[in-house]
Symmetry: C2
Subunit: 428 residues, 2 copies
Amino acid sequence: MNAPFRLGIAGLGTVGTGVVKIVQTHGAALAAKAGRPVEIAAVSARNRSLDRGVDLSAYAWEDDATRLASREDVDCVIEVIGGSNGPAKALAEQALAAGKHVVTANKALIAHHGQELAEAAEAAGAALRFEAGVAGGIPVLKAIGEGLAANQLTRVFGVLNGTCNYILSEMETSEADYADVLAEAQRLGYAEADPSFDVGGIDAAHKLAILAALAFGTRIDFEGVVTEGIERITLADIKTARDMGYAIKLLGLARMHETGLEQRVRPCMVAETTPIGALTGVTNAVVAEGDFVGSCVFTGPGAGEGPTASAIVADVLDAARGIVTPAFGRPAANLKPAPRLQHGEEHSPYYLRFMLADRPGALAAIASALGEKGVSIHRMRQYGQGDPVPVVIETHDAHRDAIDAAVASISNLPVSQAPPVAIRIEEA
Amino acid sequence: MNAPFRLGIAGLGTVGTGVVKIVQTHGAALAAKAGRPVEIAAVSARNRSLDRGVDLSAYAWEDDATRLASREDVDCVIEVIGGSNGPAKALAEQALAAGKHVVTANKALIAHHGQELAEAAEAAGAALRFEAGVAGGIPVLKAIGEGLAANQLTRVFGVLNGTCNYILSEMETSEADYADVLAEAQRLGYAEADPSFDVGGIDAAHKLAILAALAFGTRIDFEGVVTEGIERITLADIKTARDMGYAIKLLGLARMHETGLEQRVRPCMVAETTPIGALTGVTNAVVAEGDFVGSCVFTGPGAGEGPTASAIVADVLDAARGIVTPAFGRPAANLKPAPRLQHGEEHSPYYLRFMLADRPGALAAIASALGEKGVSIHRMRQYGQGDPVPVVIETHDAHRDAIDAAVASISNLPVSQAPPVAIRIEEA
């Protein structure tokens, strides 16, 4: 048997503890797969006395996580501290500088510093891997970076945040309002006390930026992700969407256009019969489209102790097998900055909802304002007899700037009684 | 730039031609990903003069495919000749013996000779890869062998044959009989003139045997796959299934039990709202369940020029990057023969259809025969008022031998007017 592959685990929350459990439970199988024993040498966390339900007595303890980077008995550092800066970043940098492999679940760290860390890893001949950072237990980075590597990918999108998908699908199922479902999600542990990272789309944007860089061979550009959360989605819109055959999903989407890279996280309408439209609960799903393969869908658990630890240990196994490939699938120096697609160039069909005064000519005023901006109507529905009365329009394919202009113009009309809502309809 | 990675392609049907197209179209990207140029050195097929729509003039030509194995300018042989013996096997053996990597789409070859070929590859320090052989363009072997390698897998199953899924879903959609839909599938090119390999379940069984070996670390055992095709599925059963919330799918399933490995390809009923139940057309899907990750679903195109070539070139890229890991995820010598699960030990709920004489006591006779064999009834439906009248029963979980005994006993009752039908209900 070859020399053992020795791990230093920084962070012993649920994910770090999950990694310990896998190594302790499946030691023999991991050794058979890696061709060498996979062992934990040292661990680090803030509180040594906390009972985490696993026996840590055989491992060295470091109070300071960054000291794992300089331990001679560590070949690979597992960073599950979290945060895009501070000790997580310092540890990753120091470990790579010392020639150690780094496996992390930290999407914020990679979204912000992926390029420099990838360069550092290559300079050191070490692996930098972050499968656990995107879509939890689903091996989607491996699928896109290796399994579909023969293709020019054209579009990558999916449901990347389980909290948001739980809230949206629960609003639909139980016909409850956003605030009530969010409170329930917090009670169940699906949402944080401060949910803004999830419901505001930031978490999904971190993941999307990573997916886009890997899919298109571009420099990671988190700041280029247009991000909008689910806070303003109403039960009314969810019901209307369903009535028209759609589900509302917080979609992360990256697509390469001739004029630039489109990256956005935004609530979208998706046909309810598609794998993405039918996705309920905290499950994640990623769709990758390539020029030769067509469309593949990867679905599974997007978070949690077991799934996240599963992805980390898969990365560990690759490193233990001696597989050291560039973090984003090609040498970091070859990753090109992509121009950002301009906002107005985005185009798709849109769902528009207006609250109109119930008076003659109201609909005509809307239709004419849309026509003036070049937005054509695919179908229209009026709901109920109230005043104001909700009117929903599904447009044909339209540029975003035309939609924005039409919505601005209509919201100034006297018949418009509330700010209009515009939600993109995505072919999924 | 490093030395080029040079390919010899044996077989220039649609898949081989697809590989040529990818290499010609994406040469620069493949080189960036592999860290070295990926080039075609030589090709071989039966008919040199055939116009295949690609320019082959820059490549050496071999009339005899096995000569690719001895060419000094070939690092990796791509075997897309097909067939479990003959030139495909000879080529793979000779190429591995010469230390060349072998990438193949040939599931029959691997299902029958995977163990000896894996041993030969390891002895030579060469890669043997066959992602394209299972589920076409979906990188499911990579997902199971690498992406989920941290887990003990508990069950792997899926829709592995697009032809059968097309026929079954088309029977449901168009309410047509098996023979008519098969004829249509043949006209569309989805089914061969002799469809028996597909509709008889053999093709799916080849793929399942490969999945099982990789998932459980066992020696491949194609002969151990219990195989039943879709030829006897009737429109009546499809309609009844739908009425009860199920779809009928040809499911390949492998599960490790304490007493042995269950491997079977068989029509099953699956809840229509699950990813597998909702799968229509020629699409494939594989579900993998692991002890830490939970359940992941991989969906995509299971056949065709582009998808199959995509999978082949992904394997080529790994080999070009220098990744040489054991074909079944761990050293071939460590793959243990698994005892086969005995037929009667299988258990699940079952769908039973009886054609009963419309006379008093008929139902009671059935119910009592089931009860005698220890099969309990979950729900029962009687359809229409004809004579004989179809009666459908969904059982609770039951062992297969109890079901067989009950069915045998009922088919001997005077009230039973036609052979009963028993279809397993699988939780998917």
